[in-house]
Symmetry: C2
Subunit: 357 residues, 2 copies
């Protein structure tokens, strides 16, 4: 068994990678929601001066990546890799939005679970000794997503209660190899730590990951993504608890990406049927990001939803000590307009990331 | 600097992951080409009994993954992760084709460079100690690709000389942690190696990788992908030579994915302008896979092209000792039908993988 494997589906990092910096950019709607104060930038123009929605989403990614790097106190040339993705066909936002950064890129796709996947891959790259600094980025955009997956915006279609509203925004996280771990291992007795290693103490670390499988319960409703994703989220949460031998109380929060109101109920029941009650710890970025008055039906969704909530809010709650341990589980519905129109179901996938200070 | 970083963009593995097995499945057209004898399975029905082309492509992936695992002498439950992708929106082929394998999945996208990306990520996972066995898979399908990127098949459009023919096929590689390296390190003097470690001697290993950046020279012709990708391929090849301090002669072959006849000439000139002559070592999977009589214009293309040539031919040439060192560089054109119709250029990306016995 490889040395860092934990249980059936998880990894436990020996030297947990450190989140050196993070940034979030959202559009006005998210800025007007209950978490508006936590985001770094609120863009009044959701098009960012671009000619198309896809280009605009790319600009969100480029901008947030630069900001996250700046906030980490690093320069672009110190970033070895980007691990990035979005919902659009051929990862259009990442492909076009990140060119100017001129950094080697691993493009990833896990639908709205992409932030979990990119963090997982970035964490392995850093902890495996392959890079000192890696950026994980994802984005989504209401207009580019509606155009691709559902109806033209001008059509003004009705939205059923189970539908979610794709978050317009992008989040980026800079993951760095832990100097502290390294120095603690190598130092002579009483030798003091470097300034850099000392600074890590207040930072959030990735303790481990639980990587998800594709789960298909046969749901065919593209307006009810919560139901498509809930079983995948449930499987990853339960597997994480089993792999590490934890009870839900181990975590202050277990936070899914974008299950929304309908998915939430399914998830809690699904996990309960497997012997765990997570209702006390449970939170969903999609339910949180908009207020009920913002008429988003079941809540927010999209790769950007969990990404901006992580960079904007979750990391701050961990840094402040309000929360100590969080299981962050971005959730993805593997919906393609083509497969959907061909009558296929919408399988789900979810990726768990264990965050600790 | 992280311990395994090499130069500006490369990684040198301390314990090179071993390619324990590989498999390739193609359709009849590839089977009739000059490399037909090397592929494991030639499917007469390019639809594999599926109802849609997308489903068919997924079936290619599922089938080739199972075959590669079987050929490695492993069981499905021993595979810790799959790293998989394809050209279709939302990675339709991987999303639907790999469900039944029930293995945690990292979805990746690098256009036709995806086999290079998936091998790179898989190699880091294995060498970093996160898994003993990982499968890297990609596919492409002429019919699903034409439908998505160009014209409906029934339209029977003319194909300019620079156009390539998307390969229908899928290749999978099982990467495993090197037991041999581990035992050589840990053994007492004169202690003999285990059977498993002995068996590794004939196997191909991944010595290192060079990860590419997005490169955009502003080419806007979706019927001339070779020109879009050549600069990206050139940059990765040159960077690999610089990072490791090699001359082209170090490699028996430098093999790109699918530049085709037009891209080949551009690449050789581009690399020559940077001070390296690779014309003696150079080979392109896209040029090789079809004969001139098969009327594919500039050659083959698609994620599947480099994947089946790797699994079917390149690895065999390395295993037999015919070649000793290969730089394998799958090349991707980040073409999206949406961005293309919006008037954008087609940026390129390429990922280098160093193969040695």
């Amino acid at each position: 068994m490889a040395c860092k494997e934990k249980g059936k589906q998880s990894i436990c990092f020996e030297n947990p990678p450190v989140i050196k910096g993070a940034a979030s950019i959202v559009s006005q709607k998210e800025g007007e929601g209950p978490y508006g104060q936590y985001f770094d930038v609120i863009e009044e123009d959701a098009k960012l001066g671009a000619e198309t929605w896809e280009e605009a989403e790319g600009k969100f990614q480029g901008k947030v990546a630069e900001l996250a790097i700046k906030k980490s106190g690093l320069s672009k040339s110190e970033i070895r890799y980007m691990v990035a993705g979005d919902l659009l066909g051929q990862l259009m936002a990442s492909s076009f939005g990140l060119i100017d950064l001129d950094i080697p890129l691993f493009g990833v796709y896990g639908a709205c679970s992409t932030m979990g996947e990119s963090l997982g891959v970035a964490a392995m790259i850093v902890e495996g000794g392959f890079a000192d600094h890696v950026v994980a980025i994802t984005s989504s955009h209401f207009a580019s997503a509606e155009k691709q997956f559902r109806f033209p915006l001008g059509y003004g279609n009705q939205r059923p209660k189970a539908a979610t509203w794709t978050v317009t925004g992008s989040g980026a996280v800079v993951l760095s190899a832990s100097k502290r771990c390294q120095e603690l291992e190598e130092r002579e007795e009483n030798e003091s730590l470097s300034k850099e290693a000392m600074a890590e103490e207040g930072k959030v670390k990735i303790k481990g990951i639980t990587t998800g499988k594709i789960v298909d319960f046969g749901v065919k409703d593209s307006m009810n993504m919560g139901a498509c994703m809930a079983p995948a989220a449930g499987d990853v949460i339960v597997q994480n608890l089993i792999d590490f031998g934890y009870q839900p109380e181990h975590y202050d929060k277990i936070i899914t990406g974008d299950l929304g109101m309908v998915g939430k109920d399914i998830l809690i029941d699904y996990v309960r049927a497997k012997g765990y009650d997570i209702s006390d710890q449970y939170m969903d970025c999609g339910i949180e990001i908009y207020s009920r008055e913002q008429n988003t039906q079941a809540g927010g969704s999209g790769c950007g939803c969990s990404a901006v909530m992580l960079a904007g809010y979750i990391l701050k709650m961990l840094e402040s000590g309000e929360w100590k341990r969080v299981l962050f589980v971005p959730t993805g519905a593997l919906l393609s307009p083509v497969s959907f129109n061909e009558g296929n179901s919408v399988p789900g996938i979810a990726h768990g990331v264990m965050l600790e200070k």
